[in-house]
Symmetry: C3
Subunit: 126 residues, 3 copies
């Protein structure tokens, strides 16, 4: 298993980690990315400045304005709830030595309770 760090700079933000993953890609057939966090998530989508802001507003809209019980313990229930539906893992086929991503697809790290230093784990299957 390979790992790298991501530094996030805001409470909630979406970061493009495609280059870091591609640089560390080992030969194989399937690359599984997995983050060991419960208040962040991984996905794949387009990444341009407008949609970046839409992602943040969209995720927030799904959970905001309610009196979550976990917030009496730690003020990040919204982050846990979103992480539980978007999830911390994604698997991408490898084709001819590269990630088989489409033209507009970027691997996105979704910070939901930053800023923090986060870890991304990579497991390549032969």
């Amino acid at each position: 298993m390979d790992s790298f760090q991501v530094k996030t700079s805001k409470k909630a933000e979406v970061l493009d980690i495609t280059a870091e993953v591609s640089r560390r890609l080992k030969p194989g057939s399937l690359c599984t990315l997995f983050i060991p966090h419960t208040t962040a998530a991984l996905t794949i989508n387009e990444f341009e400045p407008n949609i970046k802001e839409d992602f943040e507003r969209f995720y927030s809209s799904l959970v905001k304005g309610r009196d979550w019980k976990h917030n009496s313990v730690d003020a990040n229930a919204e982050a846990h709830l979103l992480s539980s539906i978007i999830k911390p893992s994604i698997s991408i086929p490898i084709h001819n030595g590269s990630l088989a991503l489409g033209t507009w697809q970027k691997i996105l790290f979704i910070e939901l309770d930053g800023p923090r230093t986060r870890t991304v784990n990579m497991q390549v299957i032969k």
Copy 2:
């Protein structure tokens, strides 16, 4: 990696692609499906006419009626947002040479910005 095409006929629709995946299944232990698109998604669920319509209404209800910034560039922000939570990938165990799907489980291609010709990539791990 194996691939096949899916033709969608509406702006938003859910299609059952189980038969196409099963027909192309090679021997192995795990089948990962991955679509190289950012305005569609993959899932697994039951597929009968009533639930098909419910899926389309449900996904739309999560994103509709808001002024997404990406729509100033390209009028499909809703499709990107939904694709980013449902995601473009799913892994299914293979057991005795077949996909280990439950009685009611079908592999579903979710078109969110059609009609288009779409690609489904399949990677089988030994």
Copy 3:
């Protein structure tokens, strides 16, 4: 492929199945969990009593109060809709013989139409 059963006791509840998965883990590099059900889902997150209740309220809030067509056939449309976005599968890297889970990460079985006896399938890739 290995399998085990989970007994759920309520209509909707979230159960921690980490210990059952760890106990059955075989040597390898990637563990894929897959449930053969269309009215339940799998995820990974923290599991403490407050957030457990928040999960149940959050999922319900996304689908409730609408007149789903599938409910004319079988009164569990909400469970199908939630299962279709959270999905029945999750892949976790194996590192030094153990699941590479973070400090707060637990593997969670999400029952959406119980109580039932459910199956969890595990496929470990070498």
